[in-house]
């Protein structure tokens, strides 16, 4: 049914409600609606959601508890020098908020998430949990072969959980749906880069976050509606600086932090929040063997992030320069979670590349439950002013 009259406010309100709901009512109801459905939770940043969908499952992004969840039990499992997302994820588990999840996937992000996969096996033995490894070697006959095996093992696990085999045809159909989803996501990002005043970052963030909660078919509808509604509304244009935000691919910043950056005078024109929505940079082919196609897309056509190895030293960090150029940004904000090894170890290398390209940058750290936004606002505001005052016209 066409809902072209839906306003951005209505869409955003729906996304906000999904975002706020740490009992995951949508996923519970989705699962209960049809017998035999499964819900597959996954941590950031990447899992092949097409496989989950083809197995009749709902992929559910588990991105910690944000600033809404009081972490009590989760803190008892982690030392003070470990980031926040694993402790709030454990809190979600121990408070039965994830008790409907059939399978939990822990992608290859860092040592903390890797070890959490083993903790989950011990703490929640009834859940099928799996560390999902991806190759750091990108040759088809080396890393590709390894990854095809990994994908097939995941396929078997999902078939076991759902009680039905995952056919090639079902997988092709799922790939087609996710191709459509990624194309729409890219369109939203391109729209925001063209007219950031028409698509505030907090709205885009919530819209993308909804994509990790609702079924892909529904998310595709939401994205279409948003594009139509956002283009139709006229919003005031501010004299903001245009920035790319990077480093936030795993533990997410509080929504207020994203709002604060924009309120401080920066339009976010690109970011790496929830990379899974844009992991493959163009369509995955539908012809041929779908598992091989998924593997090839990972090896040759996926986004860059600090948890991935860059084999070519000449290309190190250039993805960020390209993001700046593509989105016509004027600077980069490194916003990384405290104690995030991949983001913080990567940062000096990226900063060197940006400096070589005369791209200004600032850096700060956050936690998913950071409450004090004044320092962020001051830093981002000063950065925006400095861009306006000192950058070349």
């Amino acid at each position: 049914m066409s809902t072209t009259s839906t306003t951005t406010a209505e869409i955003v309100a729906r996304c906000q409600a999904l975002f706020d709901d740490l009992h995951f009512t949508y996923a519970r109801e989705w699962k209960a609606a049809v017998p035999g459905r499964i819900v597959v939770g996954y941590m950031p940043f990447y899992v092949p959601r097409e496989l989950i969908h083809a197995a009749g499952g709902l992929p559910l992004g588990v991105l910690g508890g944000g600033d809404q969840l009081e972490v009590i039990q989760g803190d008892a499992y982690y030392q003070s020098y470990i980031c926040r997302i694993p402790r709030s994820t454990i809190e979600l588990g121990l408070t039965n908020r994830l008790d409907f999840v059939d399978v939990m996937l822990f992608p290859s992000i860092c040592d903390v998430i890797r070890n959490l996969s083993g903790m989950w096996k011990i703490m929640f033995p009834k859940v099928k949990s799996r560390y999902f490894d991806v190759p750091q070697n990108y040759c088809d006959d080396v890393g590709g072969e390894f990854y095809i095996h990994e994908l097939n093992e995941l396929r078997d696990l999902l078939a076991e959980a759902s009680g039905r085999p995952v056919s090639d045809d079902a997988l092709r159909a799922s790939i087609a749906l996710y191709n459509e989803n990624r194309a729409l996501v890219r369109e939203v990002y391109a729209f925001r880069a063209r007219q950031p005043w028409q698509a505030p970052s907090a709205e885009v963030y919530l819209l993308m976050r909804a994509g990790l909660i609702v079924a892909v078919e529904e998310h595709n509808r939401m994205l279409r509606e948003y594009l139509t509604a956002a283009a139709a509304e006229q919003r005031p244009r501010r004299d903001n600086s245009r920035v790319v935000v990077t480093g936030a691919f795993c533990e997410q910043p509080p929504l207020n932090l994203i709002k604060s950056i924009e309120l401080a005078g920066c339009y976010i024109v690109d970011d790496d929040f929830m990379l899974v929505n844009r992991w493959e940079r163009s369509d995955i082919p539908l012809e041929g063997d779908p598992i091989t196609n998924l593997a090839a897309a990972y090896l040759h056509n996926s986004n860059h992030t600090s948890a991935k190895y860059e084999p070519d030293p000449e290309k190190k960090g250039l993805y960020l320069v390209e993001a700046v150029k593509r989105s016509r940004a004027e600077g980069v904000i490194f916003a990384s979670p405290s104690f995030c090894d991949p983001a913080l170890l990567e940062r000096p290398m990226l900063q060197r590349v940006l400096a070589a390209h005369d791209i200004p940058f600032i850096a700060f750290k956050y936690a998913e439950n950071s409450g004090q936004m004044q320092p962020i606002r001051e830093q981002a505001g000063t950065f925006a002013d400095s861009i306006k005052l000192w950058s070349n016209p």
Binding site: L116, G118, K365
Partner: protein, 433 residues
């Protein structure tokens, strides 16, 4: 205490042998620009020393440089230098100690300049930080690189797919790069010969570590253990020197065992074994002697440790196998301690608790090392639950002196030893009743 009053440290033949080996390797590294010998920088867990030797190349290990500098109290300044240059206070201090050392002239632990590597060989095992460390070094040195991605044992087992993947990388990525840089053609028989030597040394190492099952234990498997693993974890596995070192060590420990002696400490032999402990996690290097003293002064002996398995886990039966050279290297890389999932790590510690008749588990949680540390509080709970033995949790760092708080650690350990005493008294009372 003045130097005159300090007890004289008695050096066994094996200690002297190891000292000579380490000094010799640093001397070769420092002479490399003059001799023209090619240098590989690589990491300890999953290192491919036998393969490197097939190409007549020298092995330089940044972690070892960092820990050696830590023991010489130099890393504090190096870490601060790296932080001044933009490296976060939150990240691994091995990395920052290495980068700070490079920034300050790249002088090795013996004060001589270390050579730039000809090849960075990343055998990426059990720790993500290695990958970024390696990229940071590549960014600095601009030299040739070879990457070996070793998959993680997420389900607690090594699969044929994992072995095939590692072997293929060895054949298609690592060996061709080593041939190209060294100009030496790969000879698999030479590799077999080195692997056979590795297996001999591994046999003796396991024998030595397992003597700690005796009461009293003739060794300390953590503070002493870090010396015992030195040659086999670093630039010497596969050499005749390593075979000789472990033969000497085995002979010495055989004698100690026969005489019913306790372990050697920096102040002499430990004569009364009051507590038998298993330790999880790496030691602190900047205050290594002080840390050790907190244990031996109380009569505490570490009978098994997980850190002594980080560069290879041999006591479950793995040996490098000359009959399957590349597969064997792959299995070695895949089997290192931190490449095992958390349930496997807990099972191993539980096994140590029983087999070594330990009184408890001490976890030294290292701020820098998420690979070890993330999940250790669950490890503690599980071990206490499964064994009924008390655990202690202390925090420090590898090479950052700012994170070693001696008073806090000593207090915790003293309370812990009292707790063990109380449990023992309780058990005796229960038996008598």
């Amino acid at each position: 205490m003045t130097n005159r009053d300090a007890p004289q440290v008695i050096k066994d033949s094996s200690m002297l042998k190891q000292k000579e080996m380490i000094a010799g390797n640093y001397a070769k590294l420092e002479a490399a620009p003059a001799t023209g010998q090619k240098v590989v920088s690589t990491f300890v867990p999953g290192n491919l020393n036998e393969l490197i030797m097939c190409f007549d190349m020298l092995n330089n290990l940044p972690e070892i440089n960092a820990l050696q500098n830590g023991m010489r109290k130099r890393t504090g300044a190096y870490i601060m230098e790296a932080e001044k240059r933009g490296h976060s206070e939150d990240v691994c201090t091995y990395v920052k100690a290495d980068l700070g050392m490079i920034a300050k002239g790249n002088l090795g632990p013996d004060g001589q300049k270390l050579p730039d590597p000809d090849l960075l060989l990343l055998s990426y095992t059990g720790c993500f930080t290695f990958m970024k460390w390696f990229e940071l070094l590549r960014d600095h040195y601009k030299c040739e690189t070879a990457m070996l991605h070793v998959p993680y044992q997420g389900d607690g087992k090594i699969t044929p797919n994992m072995i095939a993947y590692v072997v293929k990388q060895l054949k298609e990525e690592v060996i061709p790069k080593l041939e190209k840089i060294s100009g030496v053609k790969f000879d698999i028989d030479r590799l077999r010969e080195y692997l056979a030597r590795s297996a001999r040394a591994e046999e003796d190492l396991v024998w030595v570590l397992e003597t700690a099952k005796s009461k009293p234990s003739p060794i300390d498997a953590y503070f002493g253990g870090v010396y015992y693993i030195g040659p086999i974890f670093t630039a010497f596995r596969g050499t005749e020197d390593a075979v000789e070192y472990y033969r000497l060590l085995r002979t010495e420990i055989t004698e100690r065992l026969a005489r019913g002696q306790g372990p050697v400490t920096p102040t002499g032999e430990l004569t009364e074994e009051r507590y038998r402990l298993v330790v999880e996690g790496p030691p602190n290097w900047t205050s290594f002697r002080d840390f050790w003293k907190m244990f031996y002064e109380e009569g505490a002996v570490v009978v098994a440790s997980t850190y002594s398995k980080v560069g290879g886990l041999y006591d479950l039966g793995f040996r490098h196998d000359p009959a399957r050279p590349l597969e064997s290297l792959a299995e070695y890389c895949l089997g290192c301690y931190t490449n095992r999932n958390l349930p496997s790590r807990i099972d191993l510690i539980e096994r140590y608790m029983h087999e070594y008749q330990a009184d408890g588990l001490v976890i030294n949680s290292i701020k820098s090392c998420n690979s070890f540390s993330a999940g250790q509080l669950l490890v503690l709970r599980e071990i206490e639950r499964r064994t009924g033995k008390p655990g202690a949790f202390i925090e420090s760092d590898l090479v950052d002196p700012r994170y070693f708080s001696p008073a806090n650690i000593k207090n915790r350990l003293e309370s812990y030893f009292q707790m063990i005493d109380q449990r023992r008294a309780g058990s005796r009372a229960a038996r008598a009743a």
